[in-house]
């Protein structure tokens, strides 16, 4: 392998991406596949809004509507929002701590391919007899009785992609614990690294309950176990508990990295040190901690009793405190700053009122008696879209603009970026603000249609118009991406001019070995410190230029994930009980997976070295950073 740029054919580039263990290329893979799933989930959202555009619409049948609604939620959470955030974590976090790569490059690739095959498996349900239709929460009382294989696609697909996410979580944790550059103490880590750290810890502890719950579901449907069959002694509430013990931390797995992204943006474009860095760090940790103690607020109406409801109501209200701390820190970061209104900054400023609105309605629902009124109404739909779209999606769009130059070496158009922002932002509020009132007027969530005499026509029509604005915003973003890629104007290390942290001290895109010499971190916002002191070299380095040890690429992760993909088809059709080929398919699939695991374990993989001469050539040629 050589760092010298060379023209490669399409096949070679494909093979490169299939075998890569480089965190920056894996980030591209996450962004591309997460982006495609985001478009699929967006199309599903548009179908929902078309169906609800007017009273008594028959655009979608009731059954199809259930499938579209379920797949919209599942796709957006598991296959769009999380992978796109993982893309930015992969692309940026190792650079922010000055690491050569993540701790386990091979597992990084495995995590991606497991997610990818899980997502493809789930979406193939559309073509193979129908998608899941019990909502993204897949409550057992609904799901057990669902006809066809939709639920099985959900259960097996999420199992595979869940393993991938768990692996990524462990990987990021170890990377941040072990691979920080000299001087990068915990309290000098950029906020995005901190939120990645806490979100990874949440992934580590929250995904196993989901996996267990989903396995119960599979066992019930496949082997005739009776976890959720009440007549056989089972209990469907177990699913609700396991799902929400996962599901509530999942919300924080999504929102904490979003907070991290906005923290970076506020500091960069206010040209100020983050106000209350320490408070922000501790608020992040507290949110992660409380995140595990509030799951039953999704279940107030189940009948857990007044004591349980009171405890979980209080815990839920407490979690609003650290979140409020963050909001004030951001406001005070902007206060007195020298603000530049770039596209990422517009998203960040738009995020604050949007997310506060979502937070306030969240506290309303924490009041258990009030929740009896709000539960399962459009008020809930409005609330969680304010949190997820107003928080996570705005962060994803902001990060796309902010980090595009670092990931691809060219800037997205600011003009089109602002168009996207205004269309999406207006569309978002137009769609979801009015849904609060629909909920208060009594419209239940997940209904496929409503009557003309119910008085919900106008508000639903307005909501659907808003969705068109959001779609237009996303289309302009796609145009922006295409136009930017065609123009391909290369940019330098610090294209925004005000970068503060280590990722802006390295070439855009960085060479495959990252920093030629590990930098020495001298404080919070370390690159800013060097800039202020007029350091011409960019950074101070912690080591002389030496040869670098790199991991080998590998095709094994693709094979390993593909084995589970194959086995899942066997397991799925085995439930029919009339097909002879299913058991062999399960065995072949698992043999592929465990065989490649054995191969990986037994074959020595010692990596390779980049020679000092090659690094010197890169540094002199301006392709790399390091002492000139």
């Amino acid at each position: 392998m050589s760092s010298i740029a060379q023209k490669k054919g399409f096949g070679a580039a494909m093979w490169d991406y299939l075998t890569t263990v480089d965190h920056k290329k894996i980030a591209h893979l996450y962004l591309a596949s997460g982006g495609i799933f985001f478009l699929i989930g967006g199309i599903e959202a548009m179908l929902i809004r078309i169906q609800l555009m007017k009273a008594g619409n028959d655009f979608l049948s009731a059954g199809t509507y259930n499938e579209v609604l379920t797949m919209h939620g599942t796709t957006m959470i598991f296959l769009a929002a999380m992978p796109i955030l993982l893309a930015f974590m992969n692309a940026i976090m190792p650079l922010q701590i000055g690491a050569r790569d993540v701790a386990f490059p091979f597992l990084n690739s495995l995590g991606f391919w497991l997610f990818f095959f899980g997502g493809v498996f789930l979406n193939l349900s559309w073509f193979l007899g129908g998608a899941p239709d019990a909502g993204w929460t897949n409550y057992a009382s609904l799901a057990i009785a669902s006809e066809g294989h939709g639920i099985d696609f959900y259960a097996l697909g999420l199992t595979i992609s869940g393993f991938g996410t768990l692996i990524s979580g462990i990987n990021f944790l170890v990377t941040i614990i072990n691979m920080r550059a000299p001087g990068m103490t915990y309290m000098r880590m950029p906020l995005f690294t901190w939120t990645t750290f806490v979100a990874s810890a949440l992934i580590l502890l929250a995904f196993p309950p989901l996996t267990v719950g989903v396995f119960f579901m599979v066992f019930d449907r496949m082997f005739g176990a009776n976890f959720f069959d009440v007549t056989m002694g089972g209990n469907t509430i177990i699913w609700e508990h396991l799902f929400w013990i996962f599901g509530h931390p999942e919300v924080y797995i999504l929102i904490l990295p979003a907070f991290g992204i906005f923290s970076e943006i506020f500091a960069i474009f206010s040209r100020k040190r983050l106000f209350g860095y320490t408070a922000l760090v501790f608020a992040t940790i507290l949110i992660g901690f409380y995140g595990f103690m509030v799951w039953a607020h999704h279940m107030f109406t189940v009948g857990l009793g007044p004591t349980a409801n009171a405890v979980f109501a209080l815990a839920t209200m407490i979690i609003a405190v650290p979140t409020g701390v963050k909001i004030f820190n951001w406001l005070l970061t902007i206060w007195g700053g020298s603000i530049s209104f770039t596209t990422p900054m517009m998203y960040a400023i738009g995020f604050i009122p949007s997310f506060v609105a979502g937070g306030v309605t969240g506290v309303m629902q924490a009041i258990a008696p009030l929740d009896y009124q709000l539960h399962d109404s459009y008020f809930i739909v409005a609330h969680f879209h304010y949190v997820i779209v107003g928080g996570v999606v705005l962060a994803i769009l902001a990060a796309t603009h902010l980090y595009w130059p670092k990931m691809f070496g060219t800037m997205l158009s600011e003009k089109l970026g602002k168009w996207t922002f205004w269309l999406f932002f207006i569309g978002f509020h137009l769609t979801f603000f009015i849904q609060h009132f629909l909920g208060l007027m009594g419209m239940p969530r997940r209904v496929y249609t409503f009557g003309a005499d119910q008085g919900w026509d106008l508000f639903n029509a307005i909501s659907s118009v808003g969705a068109v604005f959001m779609a237009a915003g996303v289309i302009i973003l796609l145009v922006n991406v295409v136009m930017t890629s065609i123009k391909n104007e290369r940019v330098g290390n610090d294209p925004w001019g005000d970068g503060r942290t280590l990722e802006w001290a390295i070439a855009s895109p960085p060479p495959f070995y990252n920093f030629a010499q590990t930098p020495l971190v001298r404080g919070l916002d370390t690159f800013w410190i060097e800039k202020m002191e007029g350091n011409k070299e960019g950074m101070v380095y912690a080591e002389p230029l030496e040869e670098i040890h790199m991991p080998n690429g590998s095709f094994v992760p693709v094979v390993m994930s593909f084995g589970l993909f194959v086995a899942s088809f066997g397991a799925l059709y085995n439930m029919d009980g009339d097909k002879g080929w299913t058991i062999p398919v399960i065995i072949i699939g698992l043999a592929i997976t465990f065989g490649s695991m054995l191969f990986r374990s037994l074959k020595d993989d010692l990596g390779f070295h980049i020679s000092k001469e090659e690094l010197m050539r890169d540094v002199k040629g301006g392709k790399s950073d390091g002492l000139k």
Binding site: A103, F104, L166, I170, N171, L173, V174, I177, N178, M179, L204, L205, F207, P208, P209, T211, V212, G213, F215, F216, F219, D220, F223, G224, A225, N226, F227, D229, T231, M232, G233, G234, N235, I238, H241, L242, I245, L598, S601, L602, D604, L606
Partner: protein, 208 residues
Amino acid sequence: MDLNKKYTPQSWPDHPETATMEGKNKFIGFWLLLAAETVTFASLFATYLALKDKGPSGMEFAASNLFELPLVFAMTMILLTSSLTSVYAMYHMKNHNFKAMQAWLGITVLLGATFLGLEIYEFNHYVHLGFGYTHSAFSAAFYTLVGTHGAHVLFGLCWFIALMVRNSKRGLNMYNAPKFYLVSLYWHFIDVVWVFIFTVVYLMGVIG
């Protein structure tokens, strides 16, 4: 890393499992994986406790009349002993005594396989009594909890054997020492889970 570098007990580091960057990463990563495994088993235990003795109306099986302690006690002692023998193996690994390490790992594998054999016998016995997997919510929760542990034992045995066979000719080096260390860590974890199963499922079950 040079695989051909020869070590003596004198030049061998005190903690070969964390002497390299790769080793350090694996060490922390594996502890984190065990944290995830702990949550997995906690979910299974919680489900078991919720569904214990629950079944169709008129079910004759209950934990108090199903489980018999003598066999399970023997299994417990065998598995606990295998944990001890894996400690001996790691003791010799740290002293760079490859042959002794292999021997103790071999004993560990034999004990683990005996445990697994007894567990299969136990399950078979229950099934013959009519307490099959689909019998009730109780049976599903029981077999899933204990069976998941059994699957972990099986995976651990395969892992031990694969490492022992792969490295039988070339001895210990800095590349495979962390691998041996991790599998023994995994084995201890399995042991701890079994202690909880013995207490929560069998002892508390027999008490009623």
